[in-house]
Symmetry: C2
Subunit: 334 residues, 2 copies
Amino acid sequence: KKYKICVIEGDGVGKEVIPETVRVLKNLGDFQFIKEYAGYECFKKYGDAIPSKTVETAKECDAILFGAVTTPKPHELEGKVYRSPILTLRRELDLYANIRPISNFRDIDFVIIRENTEGLYVGREYYNPCTEEAVAERVISKKGCYRVVKFAFEYALKHHRKKVTCVHKANVLRVTDGLFLKIFYQVSEEYKEYNIEVNDYLVDTTAMYIVKNPKIFDVIVTTNLFGDILSDEASGLIGGLGLAPSANIGDRYGLFEPVHGSAPDIAGKGIANPLATILSGAMMLYYLGMKKESKILRMAVKSVVEKGYTTPDLGGNLKTREVTDKVIEEVKKY
Amino acid sequence: KKYKICVIEGDGVGKEVIPETVRVLKNLGDFQFIKEYAGYECFKKYGDAIPSKTVETAKECDAILFGAVTTPKPHELEGKVYRSPILTLRRELDLYANIRPISNFRDIDFVIIRENTEGLYVGREYYNPCTEEAVAERVISKKGCYRVVKFAFEYALKHHRKKVTCVHKANVLRVTDGLFLKIFYQVSEEYKEYNIEVNDYLVDTTAMYIVKNPKIFDVIVTTNLFGDILSDEASGLIGGLGLAPSANIGDRYGLFEPVHGSAPDIAGKGIANPLATILSGAMMLYYLGMKKESKILRMAVKSVVEKGYTTPDLGGNLKTREVTDKVIEEVKKY
Ligand SMILES: CC(C)[C@H](C(=O)O)[C@@H](O)C(=O)O
Ligand SMILES: CC(C)[C@H](C(=O)O)[C@@H](O)C(=O)O
């Protein structure tokens, strides 16, 4: 089957790492790549950071490959409304599970599964000028908890993971995170026969253990903003965001993106690290059912990292293109 | 002047590290220690985790020394309401700034100043059975932002710190954290003449940099829950919570506590590390105006750590009492 891939480069280094990843993928299968626009440049050109055509194409494709976009500062907007492309896509495509593997291909290897549609990301925020108070609503639904926790256990089963840890702040957020925690243990009952270890930690404790003792983690499942913070923290363990891919998965669609942003400071210099995006491509292959190819690509990246064929952020001295060439070389060995 | 100190041991190791800290303090000044009760044991005995007498005494004293309390699991409560002692004290005494120095006495040395009364800690949470949605309100007030940011700049001035960093998630929480960020830069204008560097980072980026490059931080000011998470993360850098003291300060009162909890797993064995509480005692001395004594105590802890006179959590093999004895020995040298 020839898969249709919606490709959204976005801004900054997104325009460098996505074409490189496409170049790699062409060596692993027969794809039709359909390019669409989103981001700040798109906003400046078309007045919309995520045109409806982009969302439509995304829905018609088998998967979406997303680069990175620049979020403008409020004063750059001149009063216009800027819809975040990635948040819009997560919501409109109902991509409720955000998978963030943390691995340096050596001693660190765990996965953070982050609820991706609710919590503090629902956009229910207002300012009361009388009390001079701003309020944001953190919304946690029963359905939202259930499906992401279920996803985490299914993920653990499929990937032969041995433990699922629920991360929360139920000692303070007794109602919202209390619900998340309750449903976590309820769902864990459905997986009893598989002998997956289950436990839970407070988010603050987790933040400490990720630094002190990351080996205690295998699969972490958590709410939206906690997952955002903890996955960036965890990427610090593996030298930064250079090796941090992610998948945004729903019941119908899948979107794959590096965790890093558009990095305007290094954009255009040809030195952006393409590996996080290439690894996101490997996650996409797995999602499409191309498990063998996914594994080959992951192994290729592993070799390249081990041999030190990397950009400066990972201690090497190669350019973006050269790293990609090395990955393709490795892919061809299989 | 003979200062009156309200002493609340709490549960678990709280009952070990507080008496040890009191023992140290007696070598540094003339205090009247008034013991009050709070925590889970107190709850089981008196039906209230924080009796009003405790709050009253706290208000009558010059400072409060607080150990740690155990939060019971919901099923242990048999339907009774459990008020968190520390959250109650922070609120009732309006202790709006939580200062958490992160230092290993060597290369790492920064301070997290956390807003301590609002954000997701306001207790405005409810469950809607019709929609099966739980909602928590994150409240950020203009006044709350102003006073904690002001506190951070005053702290920087007093302690000769060179940079203040605002940590937020204003790209998603545009209204609440947008307000915090705006007020941060407004207040920074009032301190222009002092040449304190100011900047801001997203909370996820900060979580990464604390692991990758903590030296870029000097004073961090942030909202309540972000401060909770980031300070525990940062303590991972200095070997865990064993050296993490904290001060909760308002316009009228000051409460000093280790960041760690009641650690029921090691309680009663005489192996709890007293240094975080002793360092909290040093912060209390500073607050009371006993700057020289505060410095002596800090230097004493530094020596003890450097000489390896520590409990097992910091790599040593001493007991709680023995560590305290070593600290007192050092104090006596001055
Ligand atoms: C850009 C931002 C809205 C986004 C988020 O907070 O989810 C990013 O930090 C991420 O982790 O994908
Ligand atoms: C015990 C808990 C309510 C508290 C908090 O979340 O503030 C603790 O984690 C802390 O950091 O002091």
